[in-house]
Amino acid sequence: MENLGLIFAPLFSYKLLIVLFFGTIFGLILGVLPGLGPTTGGALILPFTMTLDPLSAIVLLTAIYCAGTYGGAITAILINTPGTPAAAATCLDGYPLAQKGEAGRALGMATVSSVIGGIASVIVLIFFAPLLANLAYEFGQPEYFALAIFGLTMLASIGEGSPIKNLIAGAFGILISTVGKDFMTSIDRFTFGINELTEGIGFIPVVVGLFAISEMLTQSTLINQIFNRVALKAVKLPSIDDYKKTWKTIIRSSGIGSFIGVLPAEGGTVASLIGYAEAKRWSKKPEDFGKGSIEGIAGAEAANNAATGGAMVPTLALGIPGSATTAVILTGLIIHGVRPGPDLFREQPEFLYGIFGSMLIANILFFVLGFFGAKIFARITLVPNKLLWPMIFAVSVCGTYSLNQSIIDVWLMLLFGVIGFFMRRYGFSVVPVIIGLILGELVEGTLRQSLVIFDGNWLMFLQRPIALTFFVLSLIALSFPLIKRKKKNDKV
């Protein structure tokens, strides 16, 4: 608590304020453009962060994360296409309300609820992350293994997709992490005689391929698609009546979003869907949902932005990503030589609280920029795909090449682009691959080290109470989709 004053440090650093400003603008642009978003944008910007100090680099990435999550709402409301997957639930009521000539009111509510959700989640982050980090001091290798398994089983409940397909994708991600020299024995695995592969497959080629290149291939199938745009005069602040209708929903969704964000692997998409569903369940007028309900917009937007701070909790405290974008932020931390975990809280509080403070400022910045600039940002969607995507390709190729100056990384990026396209086409989410890739080394490393400690006795895992708790939670996470399906079938 004695470090709380450090939160305001970014306000006194002109360099961090400039980084925050550009990060927020860039995040808004990425959020507005359908198919891009903070995960792809973060991965594309990662090579550029090498010119910055570690704090500025992470502040840039977190500003992109916060603003990008909000930016998706602008496109969701004006063209009925979510700029980011987390804004999908916002379309349901945002676009119908915009069609009624109230686009400004819809965007105003989206902006206000996003900011409240975002700030609430940063407060959760500030108080909860140090507690979790303290708890992590009790963790040994077996506990970390069990925690990583819990994170992976949570993949089963990502989004609305098939839980089994998500698990297959997660296992594929872990498999990618096994490529290269085995870290314990230096034996080559899946290198096929290619020297460059002995170092393993990097995170950037995979994430840029799975997100940017696969999206480019998806866009190639939609070149004749025409969007119906709703004109926007100006963003309007919600009226007193709107506040009266939505304040409970905003508070509830902020809590839901923060909680879901803290869960490993779950992110804004799940948070917004649950936030929206709960808003409908508690509403006095559930019949208005889907027809332009202001509560629907508030429920979805407060929840998806609240997930940003929540997702940073396990990322910073345990090194377990809370979402796909925090996996990119985690990679940024590692690239800049910062090791997330409990020691980070003890040894570099000014770094951590600098991030917390920057996230708060980013939320205020995107409120101002969103409120006054939504009309301009909405115009970005007018850039035709036939010009936009070749440019994104050029940045993707150069960015991927730049990290290791390896042409193999560029080929891998293209390969993962094609894999990602077919995965999405056949209902496999690409997010679990990213989470699996990030957690893969942790899972294998902690498993093997635990077995050394236990002298090969697997049953010893069950004698560790924290590990056992995570295994039980994993079983619950795995059975949750089955229970959900059974309930759905019973209802039908």
Binding site: P47, F48, K165, T185, L217, V410
Partner: protein, 168 residues
């Protein structure tokens, strides 16, 4: 009459093989099986040096898990079929082909030229016909990116006919 029944039955079972769930599952299982075979070629650590499990054990377990889950997905798809995907348009195949052009040109001629060629192919076949815009997308923008990465990040791009001119 019997023959007709048999013929219908044959068609039904044949159509099963053309369903996307069958094709996707078969591809995943085939690739996983090939990779599983490769895990048997990994070096084995002598027991005295071995710590925990063999390097091949973890990937083997993962591949078996992927195969088992894929089989499960397939059997579930028999009850709940996957939605039918639309046929892919020509623009998709052209974009895919432009990747091949990029790889070939950047490998044998020049990295920058590869990006420029891909950009012009994609932009043109996605509907852009204005020459000025094609030049912006295929030459001016990649040049800005190239110079930016080269000067700001100190990146050295792979040698090629155009890159060599730039580096003198």
């Amino acid at each position: 009459m019997n023959d007709v029944h048999n013929e219908k039955g044959t068609n039904k079972s044949l159509s099963l093989f053309f369903k996307s769930s069958f094709i996707v599952s078969a591809v995943i299982i085939l690739i996983s099986s090939i990779l599983l075979y490769f895990t048997f070629t990994f070096d084995i650590v002598p027991p005295i040096l071995n710590r925990g499990i063999q390097p091949a054990t973890f990937p083997k377990a993962l591949l078996i898990l992927i195969i088992a889950l894929t089989l499960l997905t397939y059997f579930i798809s028999l009850k709940n079929p996957w939605k039918n995907e639309k046929k892919l348009p020509n623009s998709f195949y052209i974009t895919l082909l432009s990747f091949v052009v990029f790889i070939t040109v950047s490998k044998f001629l020049d990295f920058f030229l590869g990006i420029a060629l891909l950009s012009i192919i994609v932009s043109y076949f996605w509907g852009e016909r204005r020459v000025a815009y094609l030049i912006i997308v295929s030459i001016i923008f990649p040049l800005i990116v190239f110079v930016f990465f080269e000067t700001i990040l100190g990146l050295r791009f792979p040698p090629g006919i155009i890159t060599n001119l730039y580096y003198g």
